[in-house]
């Protein structure tokens, strides 16, 4: 199995607060991994380190088999990872939904027409075909989140990384997002506090604790209902 993300002996600190020390992590193709941990345990930090948005003070990050050190290395790798931010308002910055979805493909060097086709395809996939000319700020929170996922999917990435995709969303919106995730056919790494959602969409889970990874058991569907009753 191909290793998509490999982190070796990484150290990272915010000022003096050390988040990771001698940290290692691997993510393989075909994995659908949930990442849990208490607030401030470093989940978002880890995701941003993977994307090269934060610089570690020591250690190596390898994406798709290529060691990434400089901004240039990461720039290339980023185009293959669809990153969905926690707040959709941060991700959607274009006037219309269509513009936002076209932004990534155009940055990849596609022509307007090619990008437009990719936009249509992605919207179809999300069942949002009528949304192309909608003004982004007029969407509901659930719609914004779906579109934000669309902006990542439109770039035809090899993997997805999602930071809290279900915060502040109602049940119906969560269901739609879960469905999109399960149908996308991509490996993904997802951070979520909502365990019901997480157990539904991932095949394994890990927990970040004191800067290290510990395995996290998934709750079986029937056990889950048992838990809720208790």
């Amino acid at each position: 199995m191909e290793t998509l993300i490999s982190i070796r002996n990484l150290t990272f600190a915010y000022d003096r607060r050390e988040i990771f020390k001698d940290f290692s992590f691997e993510f393989q193709a075909g994995q659908r991994t949930g990442l849990v941990g208490s607030n401030g345990s470093g989940k978002s930090t880890l995701l941003q380190l993977i994307m090269g948005l934060l610089k570690p003070s020591a250690g190596e990050i390898e994406l798709f088999g290529k060691l990434c050190r400089s901004e240039n290395d990461f720039r290339e790798a980023r185009l293959q990872i669809g990153f969905v931010f926690q707040d959709a308002n941060d991700q959607l910055f274009c006037p219309t939904v269509g513009d936002d979805l076209a932004f990534g493909p155009l940055n990849m060097g596609k022509t307007m027409a090619e990008a437009d086709a990719m936009v249509d395809e992605t919207l179809e996939l999300l069942n949002l075909s009528s949304f192309k000319e909608r003004v982004t700020y007029g969407l509901s929170d659930g719609e914004k989140k779906l579109v934000a996922m669309g902006t990542a999917l439109a770039m035809k990435p090899k993997a997805l990384i999602l930071d809290e995709p279900t915060t502040c969303l109602d049940e119906e919106a969560c269901d739609r997002i879960a469905k999109v995730l399960m149908d996308c056919g991509l490996p993904y790494l997802v951070v979520a506090h909502d365990r019901d959602f997480l157990d539904r969409v991932v095949t394994n889970a890990i927990r970040l604790k004191d800067g290290q990874i510990v395995p996290e058991p998934l709750r079986a569907p029937n056990a889950r209902t048992g838990n809720q009753a208790a």
Binding site: R75, F93, P95
Partner: protein, 262 residues
């Protein structure tokens, strides 16, 4: 397209009047150029009759733009607040060589002062009305794309697009903060405590906006941002644009001619 929410008090909503006005069919590039030329020409006018003709022409255009009356009045009130201050100063500012009209106590009201204040007010309103009629009838992002076509600096275009987009978000954040303050019994006033509250509000809006800018930039970088915010907009000059440019030229000629001194 106009799926805007109930953000009635936010100034940067998607422009009104679009598609119901004949002006919204005109190419945004032509409109930007004409708005700039118009502003330049009107600001050069030196006599009241010329300024009156310009104001009449602008009024005609705003009528053509079918701008909602209530909204228009609000906007004009804001602009004219500025001119009100001129009316408080200018009429009294030509005391020595001016022709005296009347006296208010120790202050002399001069003909020159009144003329200048009227001229500025007329010109200002003529420019504002025309800019609203022309630029207000195109969606903001089309204006940005048109600006890019007209070789405006890329940074300016990006700034404009991001302002339009995030004004809403920051405005909503402001409203949320204000509500949260009110829920804890905050009332706007001039007490020490109150001013501290307002300064905290402004401060936290600034900090939040700064943080958000950081997050937005990261999200953009993740999608390969390299300095250009693309907008899907195509521009083609049509017959409508020809008619528009021709009519504008006539307006320019009339206004310019009325102010002409050989």
């Amino acid at each position: 397209m106009a799926e805007s929410e109930n953000t009635a008090s936010a100034p940067f909503q998607e422009n009104r009047g679009q598609e119901i006005s004949p002006l919204s069919r005109v190419d945004a590039r032509a409109k930007i150029i004409c708005a700039v030329l118009w502003s330049l020409m009107v600001s050069w006018l030196s006599d009241i009759p010329g300024a009156l003709v310009a104001l009449a022409a602008s009024t005609l255009m705003i009528a053509l733009a079918r701008w909602p009356r209530r909204n228009l009045i609000n906007r004009l009130l804001t602009v004219n607040m500025f001119f009100l201050f001129m009316w408080l100063m200018l009429p009294f500012s030509f005391s020595s060589p001016g022709r005296e009209v009347t006296r208010l106590g120790p202050l002399v009201v001069t003909r020159e002062g009144l003329d200048l204040a009227s001229l500025l007010t007329l010109k200002g309103n003529a420019i504002v009305l025309m800019v609203l009629a022309l630029l207000g009838t195109s969606p903001m992002y089309i204006l940005a794309a048109a600006g890019r076509k007209l070789k405006f600096p890329e940074k300016l275009v990006s700034l404009f697009l991001l302002t339009v987009r995030y004004y809403q978000v920051i405005f909503k954040e402001y409203q949320r903060l204000r509500k949260a303050m009110r829920a804890r019994g905050f009332k706007l006033g001039l007490s020490r405590n109150c001013l501290r509250g307002v300064s905290n509000l402004v401060g936290s809006l600034l900090v939040r906006s700064f943080d958000r800018a950081d997050r937005v930039h990261r999200a953009m970088v993740c999608r390969g941002y390299s300095g250009i915010i693309w907008v899907r907009a195509e521009f083609k000059y049509t017959k409508t644009d020809l008619v528009f440019v021709f009519s504008m030229m006539i307006l320019f000629a009339i206004v310019g001619g009325s102010d002409w001194k050989p």
